[in-house]
Symmetry: C2
């Protein structure tokens, strides 16, 4: 398979879904829709939606309307970036090579734009045209849990904030990662599987893939923060160290971190064995995630 | 009926539901759960959850588990207060007679506590033990739409922020109100009706009740801000005028505003005619809302 073609076809469907669901800039109140769109259409790689679609395809199906479910992951991811960048949190001025949301629209509008994207994600899942109502309810529960405080994304952010004042241990690092970035990557895969009607066994296998791939993703993210420039990353490099964040390089060193990422990539591949050729996109995505430079 | 007894019985069920769904302060990460609970259990009147339960009861049913659905309205209401009070928005230090969330927990944790309550509301609706999956999905779509940017709560907040710089007209006032407080009050009633299996006709009638009652609520809120002290209100009084907010007294004057509230109360009563005695709680609630002093 050609990953580049695969990605561009899937991303085009995700962009179209986002265009459909997010009110246009001409819809009142215009400022909030401009602010939502500014961060949503800022050149994100759409990794989470593509993982969602890839998981559905691994089951042999290419279910209609999956991009509607997939695009809610990008809404959640983008809301978390907008709020993370706020002065009261990471206080970052640069994201994906552009001024952050609050720099352009002010803090009040950035807070509300984040709230709006979070809310819209659930509106879309509640209405999901291509899914039955039971599937809609299941996806809502999955996404909300993965985004929440207990083992979910917000919980990870809080651990992360509080971790700045704690000794970096392997246990703390794993707890932070599993929640902060791991939960949303894992649920991306699970949502695709649920949308496509996975059996319990299939869902388990794809969840294992999601966990290993998610861990690889975070390790590589931490390594890139050390090794790459702000220009390449499109966001402030070296911030982890400056803020004394607990990272894989800080706990394991750079070389061991890279070896761990490779190990996780292979474990992710192994979890896909039952799915044969239909899982080729998920395999290539795991490779892409480990080899990316930004 | 005895409204006081009715309220205390319903509120007890809502408090119990909130206790069940919101992680305890001993659950990690503890800070965020403390912050969520600080604002959630701050002596709110639980008007929205009680309206939800009252609407279900107006249909002759007292469906089991309705308090789980009802308590999500309090989560959304509380998240909106926490974010509204932030320095970047209304910058308020006092709420329900206590220091606001960010004063106690810091801005970062207040932003995340709001995000968490918003997320948890949808987690609860997605899992709603007493409802079928189709009802869960419908409630998610209803609540998200009412909380969103187009005619919903966030849209109203944005109109409100932008309205501070505009001429106060009756049209602008109505648009702000309908979205900012009206949408959530209206959906409180609708969610109860949907949970209880309302017909389209019943849902329409209860929605009309919700709209008139919601308008009465906002007019009275604006009047209280002018007439009552901060001590009575438990929040800073006279802020609307200080911030040049568009309010009913500003557009219509105090006396005409009070007459309008009374008119809306009567219209709310009229919408309940088809439900007979079963709607007695909703009638009393509309009266209570118009006659309250805080």
């Amino acid at each position: 398979m050609n990953l580049k073609e695969y990605l561009s076809a899937r991303i085009a469907r995700v962009e179209a879904a986002l265009e459909r669901w997010v009110p246009a800039e001409t819809v009142a109140p215009q400022t909030i829709h401009r602010a939502m769109r500014y961060s949503l259409f800022a050149g994100g790689k759409r990794i989470r939606p593509v993982l969602c679609m890839g998981a559905a395809e691994a089951l042999g199906a290419a279910p209609a309307g999956i991009e509607d479910a997939a695009c809610t992951l990008e809404m959640i991811h983008t809301y978390s970036l907008i709020h993370d960048d706020l002065p009261a949190l990471d206080n970052d001025d640069l994201r994906r090579g552009r001024p952050t949301n609050h720099v352009v629209f002010g803090e009040a509008m950035a807070i509300l734009a984040g709230d709006s994207l979070l809310t819209l994600a659930f509106e879309v899942l509640g209405k999901l045209p291509g899914a039955s109502e039971p599937v809609r309810a299941k996806l809502v529960a999955e996404l909300a849990t993965a985004s929440g405080t207990v083992g979910g994304m917000i919980g990870g952010q809080v651990h992360d904030i509080e971790g700045e004042r704690q000794t970096p241990t392997a246990e703390l690092l794993e707890a932070i990662h599993r929640a902060k970035t791991g939960a949303l990557l894992r649920v991306s895969v699970r949502m695709g599987a649920i949308y496509a009607g996975a059996t319990a066994e299939q869902l388990d296998a794809l969840t294992r893939y999601g966990e290993h791939m998610g861990l690889a993703f975070q390790i590589v993210d931490d390594v890139l923060d050390v090794e790459e420039s702000s220009e390449t990353l499109g966001k402030t490099a070296g911030k982890d160290q400056a803020q004394q964040k607990i990272t894989f390089p800080a706990v394991y060193g750079l070389e061991q971190s890279k070896a761990m990422a490779e190990q996780e990539r292979l474990a992710a591949h192994a979890a896909l064995d039952p799915f044969g050729d239909a899982a080729a996109p998920l395999r290539e995505l795991a490779d892409f995630i480990v080899k990316r430079k930004a």
